[in-house]
Symmetry: C2
Subunit: 241 residues, 2 copies
Amino acid sequence: MPTAGFLVIGNEILSGKVVDTNSPFLAKELRKIGVDLERILTIPDEIDIIAEEVRKMSEDYDYVLTSGGIGPTHDDLTMDGVAKAFGLPMELDEDLCRRIEEATGDHFNESMRKMAILPKGAGVQESGELWFPLISVHNVFVLPGIPRLFEAKFSSVAEQMTGIPFQLKRVYVKSFESEIASHLHALLEEFEELMLGSYPRMGEEHYRVMLTLESRDIDYLERALSSLLDRLPDEIVHRIE
Amino acid sequence: MPTAGFLVIGNEILSGKVVDTNSPFLAKELRKIGVDLERILTIPDEIDIIAEEVRKMSEDYDYVLTSGGIGPTHDDLTMDGVAKAFGLPMELDEDLCRRIEEATGDHFNESMRKMAILPKGAGVQESGELWFPLISVHNVFVLPGIPRLFEAKFSSVAEQMTGIPFQLKRVYVKSFESEIASHLHALLEEFEELMLGSYPRMGEEHYRVMLTLESRDIDYLERALSSLLDRLPDEIVHRIE
């Protein structure tokens, strides 16, 4: 199954000034596509740290996405970090530079030129309605941190991913998690491949625990669900979705 | 300055089923105390991965906090991971077990007993109004994932931390980020220790960029702010906070 790692680059998130909404968005979207998100890592805007983590993630996962640090200012170091991860020099992309000039018109200046300096050989692809293209290096897609732009740009990345989506069943249970733990344990011994989640919820009126059963194989999932329902006393099952 | 790393343990976050609100909460709180949060990492509920990342963070940072994976069910593996990180056996804490029995009464069963099995020598401290104590191993504080409990328990951790808070000034600027980039660059050459952030904001009526200037030294900060305001044309400064 295809895997992904997500690298969030931003002092503003570590210092609590900005809430990272890109991670929850990406987690949901990758799940829908059927790509396994295995790691989300938030690090400061420092070239060496970016380089090291990009290199590791690029080796460990099929797809790597980064968020943030690609604007025109001093603290935008993601491109430099990605270049360093792969030992590539930074180079002005003449086409991109012309494009930035056209798009920004009177506002164009030297610092915008910085946004056209990319790791040598970087992929530069059209990205839907956005004038700024999608930049990638090997299996690393470099996305902007601003949520609206991140989400728009992700749709261009998603088109290039192939995955097998999970099938999901939810069972809402009235008893305490501890009271059903032995049943869950037995279920997992029978269905070793099942992804089983158990989430206590405080403050819900009708149930105390949400169980999630997941598999990419719908038949396997249905059999596991039947087995679980056979194990649980009928009166503690509130609802199945 | 004291540093911290935060390890979020949870398949439910990576799979997009639950949004992690503990990270933004912690980032803000640590900032207030003056402890530098240097890394937030979200990983799956797998013992070996937990062990490896706990060990690394414990070496790299003064304080490590973990969130999630400490309930009574099969997928609650954080304590095992922390034990493995430090090569410690898991051992029943008799006092804690009695306490769980008292607190849960009729609901007590074998799976709740699991919650009293801790890495040998773990710190067990009272934690405000919560009946379940705060557990720590070396510099690692093991917190629950449920936000209400995480936040309550964090207040017990915070009491044990010492930091020097940052002083912050915000400058809201009407021009595009690219138009002020050279001024920011020059400012940083003069004030090398300044933490300077530049955040473009879309959809704001009165400004285009929020600048943040931070230092733990208030005099240094005031001087840097004056220097910035001298550099920027008066008419582009919308507001200073």
